[in-house]
């Protein structure tokens, strides 16, 4: 029994053809519209390294690598996704009245195809059931308040699957209502057929016809709906996964690149014709805009965002929605080459733009390689360099960086004072340059860390020197807060200083110095081998150059974002510390920001919206006697957090904990 007969005197294929033309037409028109919007974006050349990109595509798209990190939701998604890949050809078969099956029979593939399609429907059906159970019964907190779109979509897909099984089953029943043939290659269809035997043939025919049209209406409906909802990720994830960022995580782009692959120097920048940062839609790159249509609204970015968790006006997922919604709302104007009165970054809101700590947890969590943070840091560039509109506190910080090359404004000539009495080499050639950074040079608590680290290195006979007065801020805070010109000025001066001192290897106790010097200075001609002190200390301990005994206290370790997640280096501090670590729920590459990154260290935070309190509480929850860390800013934030929470738990640097256990 099949639905392939005339309806109201019109052949079924004319009716289906008309619906197909309508729905496919609407789909294509909308997709074309979106493609035109994406093409309004600026250039971002990612059309390279094709073999690598193909491998990544198979791993991340087909293999659902990051999707299934969330076992339940991601697992259900993978089942639906793989199921649909297996079953999608069935649409062609049903749409042509079984012509595909006939063709496959000729080449002896029909049975194989049938079982594949059946497995596909079964996988998808299982996935849908799990997903519905999660949405309706479990209802995780983050889904509260979400639109009912998700449930409706799931039910619609379930409808497609059930009608397909019904049609499959009915095809095994003859016009008398008896079983014509039981096809073992379509087990689920056969199961459905067994329920249909001896049904009233006329009634069954009605069911079959209704199923077929419902099936086709739903599929056509999906085609119309896909570009408009979060379902756009069906298409949007393809460019997103294929053109994922190949630069190291967290590395920002210079203002202007020269043909030699280096950044154009500040003296030669064509400022008058350069758009600084992003404000309008077309200031963003095509890849930034395509993110909008790749978003699946899975909210994993929202779950891990410290700004969101502390109640600030930033939700990384909303930023991505903004990109998409803004495109839809202002599309006609944008495509006509006009500039809407509301810019895209107006839509983001300044509050959201300044709330980001650039911890990259959102980017790391996203299963489809959406790049949230660069949108915000690019917007900051516009706000600082074009509009001169930024949090008040930063003005003094910028002036201090310009004048004394440190955010606090201490006299630049006092930078080396922390080392008094240690008899360190200053500016002399050595194997390592100890790049101390601003916090390690000027902040009282962190000066102790610098001194401890220097003593440990002396003890282990590491040949190192410091720059002393000629060291400057690495510029991280200027760069993360949008003052790219100031960052570049500092970077250029530092590169010159380091090169003149003949520096090749750098050790630093600051993850931000580590990141900019090691991964970002290359664009300005500075190629140095940079290690974080936890890496060097782990090596020294392993080599037996530092003999450290076991601790008799318990310890938890807070991974700084720019080491644990952004550099994926979380073994070194644990090796350096040795012994057992009582891990926090969020640790290693899933660490949670202390709240200081992205220049947030220097911007006031509302008392009830402090990121550091969340993290300090997580550390306390481990019950450990003390907290270890490897970043001067995490040190400040967590120490403050402990005080505010009324805890006397000490926060100490890895070097300090090691120094205490040092065997004479």
């Amino acid at each position: 029994m099949d639905p392939f007969h005339p309806y109201f005197g019109i052949e079924w294929y004319w009716l289906l053809g008309a619906w197909a033309a309508l729905s496919i037409g609407a789909h294509m028109w909308q997709v074309g519209y979106i493609v035109r919007l994406i093409r309004l974006g600026g250039p971002d050349d990612r059309f390279n390294a094709w073999p690598v990109r193909m491998r990544e595509f198979l791993r991340d798209w087909l293999g659902q690598r990051k999707v299934i990190e969330d076992r339940l939701a991601g697992g259900a998604h993978a089942l639906i996704f793989w199921g649909f890949l297996l079953l999608v050809s069935d649409v062609l078969d049903l749409g042509t009245g079984g012509m595909l099956a006939v063709f496959l029979e000729d080449i002896y593939l029909k049975d194989f195809w049938n079982i594949v399609v059946d497995i596909g429907y079964l996988l998808a059906g299982t996935g849908i059931t799990i997903a519905l159970y999660r949405r309706v019964v479990l209802r995780p907190a983050k889904l509260r308040g979400a639109s009912i779109e998700g449930e409706l979509i799931l039910l619609a897909i379930m409808g497609i699957i059930l009608t397909a099984f019904l049609l499959e089953g009915a095809a095994m029943i003859d016009s008398e209502g008896a079983l014509a043939e039981r096809d073992g290659w379509e087990p689920v269809g056969a199961l459905f057929a067994s329920f249909m035997i001896n049904m009233d043939p006329a009634m069954l025919q009605t069911w079959v016809d209704a199923s077929f049209w419902l099936h086709m209406l739903l599929i056509g409906g999906f085609l119309v709906e896909i570009p408009q909802t979060k379902h756009s990720h069906l298409l949007g994830t393809i460019p997103n996964v294929l053109f994922q960022d190949h630069a190291p995580l967290g590395k920002q782009k210079p203002l202007q690149m020269a043909p030699n692959g280096l950044a154009v120097s500040t003296d030669d920048l064509d400022i008058e014709n350069l758009s600084l940062g992003t404000s309008n839609y077309s200031d963003f790159s095509w890849r930034q805009i395509s993110d909008g249509w790749a978003c699946t609204a899975c909210a994993r970015c929202q779950d891990v965002c410290p700004a969101f968790a502390s109640g600030k006006g930033l939700n990384p997922m909303q930023i991505i929605f903004d990109v998409k919604d803004y495109g839809w709302e202002h599309g006609r104007q944008l495509l006509a080459g006009e500039t809407p009165e509301e810019s895209l970054i107006d839509r983001f809101s300044e509050e959201a733009i300044w709330a980001c700590t650039t911890c990259f947890a959102c980017v790391d969590a996203c299963p489809v390689h959406i790049e949230h943070v660069p949108k915000l840091t690019d917007a900051r560039r516009h706000l600082v360099m074009e509009a001169a509109q930024f949090p008040n506190e930063l003005q003094a910080v910028f002036e201090n960086l310009e004048r004394n090359s440190n955010p606090w404004g201490f006299g630049a000539h006092t930078r080396g004072d922390w080392a008094e009495g240690l008899e360190l080499k200053v500016g002399e050639p050595a194997e390592y340059l100890f790049y101390v950074g601003c916090a390690g040079s000027f902040d009282n608590r962190n000066k102790q860390v610098s001194r401890t680290l220097a003593r440990l290195m002396q003890q282990a006979d590491v040949d190192f020197s410091i720059l002393g007065e000629t060291e400057m801020c690495n510029g991280d805070l200027a760069r993360r807060s949008g003052n790219e010109f100031l960052f570049q000025t500092l970077a250029e001066m530092n590169v010159t200083t380091l090169q003149e001192a003949g520096v090749q290897k750098i050790v630093t106790a600051c993850p931000h110095c580590f990141h900019t010097l090691g991964k970002e200075y290359g664009d300005y001609g500075g190629d140095f081998e940079v290690v974080h002190h936890t890496q060097l200390l782990a090596e020294l301990r392993e080599q037996g150059k530092l003999k450290v005994s076991d601790r008799d206290t318990t310890l938890t370790y807070h991974d700084p974002c720019y080491m644990g997640r952004i550099d994926d280096s979380h073994d070194a501090p644990r090796k350096a510390l040795g012994g057992e670590i009582l891990e926090m729920h969020r640790c290693r590459d899933k660490t949670f920001c202390c709240g200081a990154g992205g220049a947030r260290m220097w911007v006031e935070e509302d008392a009830d919206k402090r990121v550091n309190l969340i993290r300090a509480q997580e550390a306390l929850d481990t019950g450990a006697d003390e907290v270890g860390t490897g970043c001067p800013f995490c040190m400040t934030m967590l120490t403050d957090g402990m005080k505010t929470l009324g805890s006397e738990t000490q926060v100490r640097d890895v070097s300090e904990i090691m120094a205490e256990q040092l065997e004479a």
């Binding site: 008058e272 074009e386 509009a387 004394n404």
Partner: protein, 253 residues
């Protein structure tokens, strides 16, 4: 309305400060625009935005040191041109002599208004501004915290002990600016870049003449003794230690 702003170039407050043999060692000084003069520039730019005209910055400084970056920043926030008077024996602690040189430079400009900071953060003499006004023969209002332009008159608010005084004056006049006058804007990068195209004149002026003061002796304030942080496991224990120290060591109880 053409406005002239007097700029003093002062040592950066974070410069290395050393006294050798009763004399200040200025060799390691870094210089910056006197912060009170920045308020004056901001005020001048705000007036220009309303009333039009030109803002000219006039600075008197030594022959050699470079101060271009900081003065360009003042151009970037909206001033139109800079004249730096270069004097071979310039000193910041010589208000009378400096006022004479500045007044001479101002005369050909014929400004409708002269603005400057209430004092320089190097020697805090609060003298140069009033002396310039005197030499130009124009009215002077000191230490202004709010300034309004009403047609061709100026209305100035100034804090006095326990009260507020509002003074009106015709123009031209000279106003010295106190710190609550305004918030100095941060220049956008493009403004900094464009400021490089604005006129920047270095003009040699003769060495100081006539009677003047000399600095006989400079010294640093006596170093303070370090405090003591009291150790103790509990607040009660710390208080006990503190009390006993106040009795036995400080002998104040």
């Amino acid at each position: 309305m053409d406005i002239a702003v007097l700029i003093k170039i002062v040592p950066d407050s974070e410069s290395r400060l050393e006294v050798r043999g009763g004399k200040l060692d200025e060799s390691d000084f870094k210089y910056m625009v006197n912060p009170y003069d920045e308020f004056a520039v901001e005020q001048a730019v705000q007036f220009k935005e309303v009333a039009g005209g030109k803002v000219t910055l006039v600075a008197l400084f030594s022959e050699t040191s470079s101060i271009d970056t900081d003065l360009r920043k003042m151009l970037a926030i909206g001033a139109d041109e800079v004249i730096v008077l270069r004097q071979s024996d310039y000193r910041g602690d010589r208000p009378a002599g400096n006022a004479t040189v500045l007044a001479e430079a101002l005369k050909p400009l014929q400004p409708d208004l002269v603005l400057c900071g209430v004092q320089g953060i190097d020697y805090y003499q609060c003298a140069t501004g009033p002396m310039v006004a005197h030499q130009l023969g124009i009215p002077h209002i000191a230490s202004v915290t709010q300034l309004e332009l009403a047609n061709d008159k100026l209305k100035a608010w100034r804090q006095v002990e326990g009260g507020l005084q509002v003074i009106e004056t015709s123009m031209p006049a000279l106003i010295t600016c106190q710190k609550d006058l305004n918030k100095v804007r941060f220049p956008a990068l493009k403004d900094i870049m464009f400021s490089k195209k604005k006129p920047f004149e270095n003009r040699a002026v003769p060495a100081a003449t006539g009677p003047d003061l000399t600095c006989a002796q400079a010294s640093l304030p006596p170093a303070r003794g370090g405090g003591e942080i009291i150790d103790g496991k509990t607040p009660a224990e710390k208080v006990t230690t503190l009390l006993s120290k106040l009795r036995t060591e400080a002998k104040v109880l």
